[in-house]
Point group: C2
Chain length 290, copies 2
DNA sequence: GGTACCCATCTGATAAACTGATGGCATGGA
DNA sequence: TCCATGCCATCAGTTTATCAGATGGGTACC
């Protein structure tokens, strides 16, 4: 069973046809047909049901498909393991929540980049759910997400602890007074944001439901909107930097049980830790205890 | 990275030379050289240190080697998964302790063979340690061994419960009297036998250490030796069948804490369960509750 | 009854792998 | 010292595998 036969097989399965797979693989249809045939002959089972509209996986094909991906991932990992001589280098792709990226990761990356100049750092941002999907798909070696995370294929290590606070325009001093306003609106970063859910739970516990939502694409935009009196938001308190302190924003502290949120670093349990990643995790831990 | 490149690489690593690998792979040395070269070029690292006496793995080669085995195992498993349509067939290779094989597995296999005629059953015997090694090496799909087994890569399910008994030649009625004899010898099956250790622990608790040991290759030989008065042994009580009951052997029952031993069925956690194995485990469970 | 799209098959061209021979090199024995 | 041995690298010729492109059969849809 050849590696390329498997990737060809996977492409046919994914695209639902040999011709389409051929186009994607930059080859011709007859070639794909031949590879699939050879794979079927080697296995002794039919992998596709051919029809006028393309090729559909048989039961045997369905069983084989996950292995194609696993073999590919394993070969990838083998290459990285062989190349990785213990000194961090190459690309390190990690993910982070936008808030974590803004608040914690920048200084970390700066120190890391200085210490390990041979590593090309790539930082992707997204919501907890998006980042976890990407870690599971091996697009990211790891990610900072909103904890706690319990997943059989993931390892989570505590990285940071944040204190969330309600932010509003200045003027209202008490949370109760703030939340009592009829025209209250929630300002959130994006649809799947972990803090959005926390904010809604927090309000629900106070009997407030069904509020209007405003969605903004960046943290600065959110803070600006809050300062302009468009609504309230829930964000790490430390995120409100000096530029926003001087009376432009009001920060309402919450009881510890609601305020504290842990940011964890997750990675696939079965995936090789590159030296670059090991060093990165060391930096994170060092930064935490410091 | 090609599959054959990896197997070639593994052969060179194992045999310590390209020429030797070529002989094993039924090809010529120049070919092996070429494959290794290509692999090294693809990875960008040297995998072997060439010398007059052969080829030795570099650090990068050491890191790559385990992946060669893993990829091979995964491809194997992929093939079996694709072929396995849910109805048990093909080869099923399991292991068992000699005592378990004699006492429990034979009737099980008979019933299983009748129920699933398309399965070629292969039973290997050995000690617990040997069998576990073979399961870990994927030479066996599973094995009956002496429990309890705790291992991160293995799953163990209880299969049988045995009552061990001290066996001796007739004449001595009490265990104390039996063990008090100065010329006492232990008769054991083989070096790594799990019951041997239990027997020695049992004697040690009674202050008896440093006894002579006799080693025999088969259960029948052991029972014969015991009957002939050569020494004592520790075996499942049920193993002493009718042929040995009529006064030729004395069975000394032990307190439950020492007598009870559980036989478990172990298999690799990460390995595909073939339909033949699933059906086999079902038979085992059925036999247990019956 | 075209037309479009699908897969299977065939054929010649191209690329890759394989074989066998050769050479360099170090070692160990006569 | 010299030869035999065993090792790997390299090269050239052959065989094999892979590829691209064309063709044909089949079905669905217009």
């Amino acid at each position: 069973m050849d590696t390329r036969d498997l990737t060809t097989f996977a492409a046919v399965a994914r695209l639902g046809g040999m011709g389409r797979a051929a186009r994607e693989l930059n080859t011709v249809q007859s070639n794909v047909t031949q590879r699939v045939h050879r794979l079927e002959e080697a296995l002794g089972v039919a992998l596709f049901e051919r029809s006028r509209s393309g090729a559909r996986l048989t039961a045997a094909g369905e069983r084989l498909l996950p292995y194609a991906a696993r073999v590919g991932a394993l070969l990838d990992e083998a290459g990285r393991a062989a190349r990785d001589d213990g000194s961090p280098r190459g690309a390190l792709t990690v993910g982070a929540l936008e808030t974590t990226a803004a608040l914690r990761v920048s200084p970390l990356l700066a120190a890391y980049a200085t210490r390990h100049p041979d590593v090309d750092l790539i930082l992707r941002t997204g919501t907890t759910a998006e980042l976890i999907d990407r870690v599971l798909d091996r697009e990211l070696e790891g990610a900072f997400v909103c904890g706690p995370i319990v997943h059989p294929d993931l390892v989570a290590t505590p990285a940071f602890e944040e204190e969330l606070a309600l932010l509003s325009a200045p003027g209202e001093r008490s949370i109760a007074g703030l939340l009592g306003r009829a025209d209250l609106r929630l300002i959130i970063l994006r649809a799947g944001c972990s803090y959005r859910q926390r904010l809604e739970e927090l309000l629900a516990r106070r009997g407030i439901v069904g509020l209007r939502r405003l969605e903004f694409g960046s943290l600065e935009a959110i803070l600006g909107a809050v300062a302009a009196g468009l609504g309230v938001t829930l964000l790490p308190r430390a995120l409100v930097g000096p530029a926003w302190r001087g009376g432009r924003l009001a920060t309402h502290r919450l009881p510890p049980a609601e305020a504290r949120v842990q940011t964890v670093f997750v990675r696939r349990r079965d995936m090789l830790c590159s030296s670059a990643l090991v060093a990165f995790q060391k930096h994170v831990t060092k930064g935490k205890t410091r």
